[in-house]
């Protein structure tokens, strides 16, 4: 009488080989990145893939990578956070103002990180417990936080921070800029958390279906609160590194990072089959944005045109992935 059981398990092993066309759609975004690299390399083989330029690209996207990591967490939970850019600007401004006022570097950094954490906590409470929509809540906090950043900076650009602090953004290790290392470390940590920890699984479950998760015993309010808090903290870190890299802090710096972080996560969502936000995909998205902007720069294309093209690329990638979903 054992035969039916063995039979049913044996049939599990049958998998389907994917057709090349489907693979193209599935890997569309990655393919796009590779094509971009090939294109720019073909246009300027002398410059584009040189060590200096690759290092340059990595340096340029390192802050975006950190903030896009923060955005990924929130989008895994099924929300999004418009305030990441503003939070990073305020954190940079707070750190800068404190250091200029004589506060020791570590304390200034810790306070700035706490500022980000509190903003994230506020977002989380508003959204998870007071049930505001993520759009409204983070739009409101973004507005207030930008205002706070203007207050902290008095509407000016703060500079003359300690050299040791600026090294954090401008220094190099093994000829590679320090922000690149920081971005890589943060990304690895976030990847690990999302993939291998219980909170990561709770985030994915909540984003997949909040009601199913709740009825499976997951405290979805707490999961969302933690996600927003983490996003605030990481955004603050990004802002601090940005201030160090620029050697200055202003209320509007890193404004682009909010929009580009959402774009990077969207691009990344097209990389995997389930269409969920994921860190690896986000980094592919960050790379596309970085390569685009650097490559177009090298070709001497005007910055405004770059912005237009970036939007088009996002539309193309998301269209491809929705075609894929239709096919299924």
């Amino acid at each position: 009488m054992n035969t039916p059981q063995t039979k049913s398990t044996a049939s599990i092993a049958v998998g389907g080989a994917k057709s090349a066309g489907r693979w193209m759609l599935q890997g569309g975004t990655v393919v796009a990145l590779v094509l971009l690299i090939i294109f720019f390399f073909a246009m300027r083989p002398d410059v584009f893939l040189s060590f200096t330029n690759v290092r340059n690209i990595l340096y340029q996207v390192s802050i975006l990578a950190i903030i896009a990591g923060a955005q990924t967490i929130v989008m895994v939970v099924g929300d999004f956070d418009l305030s990441v850019g503003a939070t990073s600007a305020l954190a940079g401004a707070v750190a800068a103002a404190m250091m200029i006022g004589g506060t020791p570097i570590p304390i200034a950094i810790i306070v700035a990180l706490l500022v980000g954490l509190v903003i994230g906590l506020v977002n989380g409470v508003l959204i998870a417990y007071l049930k505001l929509s993520a759009f409204v809540a983070t739009l409101a906090t973004m507005t207030s936080v930008v205002g706070l950043a203007f207050l902290v900076t008095n509407g000016t650009t703060l500079f003359n921070m300690p050299e040791a602090f600026n090294q954090l953004g401008q220094g190099r290790m093994m000829d590679i800029p320090i922000p690149v290392f920081i971005a890589i470390i943060i990304s690895l940590i976030l990847w690990f958390i999302l993939r291998f920890t219980t909170i990561g699984r709770r985030w994915y479950a909540t984003g997949g279906s909040a009601e199913v998760s709740r009825l499976s015993g997951i405290n979805i309010k707490r999961a969302r609160l933690i996600a927003f808090t983490a996003a605030g903290l990481i955004s603050a870190l990004g802002g601090i590194i940005l201030a160090a890299r620029l050697g200055s802090a202003s209320a509007v710096q890193g404004e682009d990072n909010m929009m580009f972080s959402v774009a990077a996560v969207f691009l990344g969502m097209t990389v995997i089959r389930s269409g969920a936000a994921n860190l690896g995909g986000t980094m592919v998205g960050v790379a596309i944005i970085g390569v685009m902007s650097n490559g177009l720069n090298i070709l001497g294309v005007n910055a405004y045109v770059q912005q237009v093209v970036t939007g088009l690329i996002i539309i193309a990638a998301v269209t491809l992935s929705s075609l894929r979903h239709k096919e299924r």
């Binding site: 219980t198 990561g200 699984r201 479950a205 199913v212 998760s213 009825l215 499976s216 997951i218």
Partner: protein
């Protein structure tokens, strides 16, 4: 009896819609194998079969969603090809699905006269004519629904009626209904049937897809049974017997649908509910013993589902006490707490409450078992695969592997995933709301057997069901609710539907 088999439609009436030799393959897998189907004008024709038998595929071919690989479709005897849904609609074929395609934010009148039906002049909507047209359609099915009301404010049956009215507004000659009674109460079902009969009298051909065989025997004129993508038989309902229909659908006898009732109930009480009160539920008290299967019935709106949700902590109670295995559940305990106390919950709506469709089987199972697969907050991939494989094997979940997406599984297998998620926690009390809704007969039998096996190992089961035969077949003891209170308690061994129904309508013991 076999003389009634009527695959070739020997009748002289030209079918309103006819499918001959339909073949449809997906990735080389045969979904329809020369399927045959014909519905005459002025008849209600049941299309029956287990999940995966090919009913949905056939309907999609008939309504232009899928293009058949081979075969012919004839509308009033003329060969047709439906390039898409709109073409099929224009030919008078309309399908109404479980999730009705009405627009919640529009008024009743706008819903009825949607799209091409909207009267307009120079692109400007003529509201007067729109209302008049909508009213005419509602009148024709004897419905009095305020035209200005938003569709979201309507009861499920009213929404169904609005969908009918819209179908009639598009001059539908063939109506295809997929489980139209799933969310309706018994009185509403009676009303629906009256409307369907009046449509039949007007010559509309109605295709009726349902898992509820009692309804088919009440309502339909003929039935067609599909199995494995083939049409097995078509015959008059009057010449059919329910057992024969079931055995034809599953390819085996119906008598073993419900397993034998065991005497597994032990003395130890594992769930005790006293004076439990919620929104509808009022002062409900009962207890369940280890190894006992308690069925809970009642009409929709009687509070039967809310009772389960209150116990599970899915909804906050306003009063009363709950004890699980001697432990008090605090009033504000959420589902996480109640699960930890030893409860398990299989919710009513599988697709919105039970499974996350876009993720894999293992990701679904793990979310209720994070503690078991992790150490110090770090999950082990091995352990996830282990518990998933074990669950898939013990529940016979038919899938390619732990990573297959749940959305790709049949309803029955999805329900098994929900069960697996909870059973991996070894609950002392398993709460199940409509354990077999919308799943095929074969899987139903498996779930009844599983309930018995769990009871034999000492698990207490509390199962809510809207189907009286199911309550009687699977339970040891049955509680019936009426207007938030328990109106009757019966030993399942001596229960009959008549008695249960009288309790459902509030006749007390």
């Amino acid at each position: 009896m076999t003389a009634a088999v009527d695959l070739s439609t020997t009748s002289t009436v030209t079918p309103a819609l006819e499918a001959r030799g339909i073949v449809k393959r997906f990735d080389g897998v045969l979904a329809l194998n020369e399927a045959e189907f014909a519905v005459r004008p002025g008849e209600i024709h049941a299309l029956l079969g287990e999940n995966g038998a090919g009913k949905s595929t056939l309907i999609k071919v008939l309504t232009g969603i899928y293009e058949p690989d081979a075969g012919v479709i004839r509308r009033d005897g003329e060969e047709v090809e439906f390039a898409n849904v709109r073409v099929a609609n224009r030919a008078g074929i309309v399908a109404l699905y479980q999730e009705l395609s009405i627009i919640p934010s529009l008024s009743v009148a706008e819903n009825i006269m949607l799209g091409e039906q909207t009267p307009r002049r120079f692109g400007i909507v003529e509201w007067q004519r729109l209302r008049k047209g909508a009213k005419a359609q509602l009148d024709s099915i004897h419905q009095r629904i305020p035209l200005g009301k938003l569709a979201s404010e309507l009861s499920p049956v009213q929404q169904t009626m609005v969908a009918f009215a819209r179908a009639l507004a598009t001059d539908a000659k063939v109506l295809i209904l997929d489980e139209p009674t799933a969310s309706l109460t018994d009185t509403e079902i009676t009303e629906l049937f009256a409307v369907l009969r009046s449509l039949r009298a007007r010559g509309v051909a109605i295709v009726y897809v349902s898992h509820r065989l009692e309804e088919v025997f009440q309502l339909c004129d003929r039935l067609t049974i599909m199995r494995n993508g083939e049409t097995i038989l078509t015959k008059d309902v009057a010449d059919s017997h329910i057992d024969e229909v079931i055995s034809t659908m599953v390819g085996r006898s119906a008598s073993d649908l419900y397993p034998e009732r065991g005497t597994t109930a032990k003395d130890q009480v594992v769930l005790e509910v006293s004076d439990l009160t919620g929104r509808r539920v009022k002062d409900v008290s009962f207890s369940v013993k280890a190894g006992e299967v308690l069925g809970i019935g009642g009409l929709a709106g009687s509070g039967r589902s809310e009772l389960l949700r209150l116990i599970a902590g899915a909804q906050a109670r306003s009063g009363g006490e709950i004890m699980v295995a001697g432990e008090h559940l605090r009033k504000r305990a959420g589902v996480g707490r109640t699960l930890d106390a030893g409860l398990g919950l299989v919710p009513e709506e599988r697709r919105s409450q039970g499974v996350i469709l876009g993720t894999s089987i293992q990701d679904n199972i793990v979310i209720a078992n994070l503690g078991a697969v992790s150490t110090a907050g770090i999950v082990s991939g091995h352990r996830i695969v282990d518990i998933t494989r074990k669950a898939m094997q013990s529940l016979q979940i038919k899938a390619r592997g732990p990573r297959q997406h749940v959305g790709e599984l049949s309803g029955g297998n999805q329900q098994k995933v929900v069960l697996a998620k909870m059973l991996a926690r070894n609950p002392k009390v398993l709460l199940m709301d409509e354990p077999t809704r919308g799943i095929d007969v074969g899987t139903k039998a498996e779930i009844y057997r599983l309930i018995r096996e769990l009871a034999a190992t000492g698990t207490a089961i509390v199962a809510v069901s809207s189907e009286l035969p199911e309550l009687i077949g699977m339970s040891d003891r049955i509680l019936i609710m009426h207007e938030g209170r328990i109106s009757g308690e019966v030993d399942a061994a001596i229960a009959d539907e008549e008695l249960l129904l009288s309790y459902c309508y509030g006749k007390s013991e």
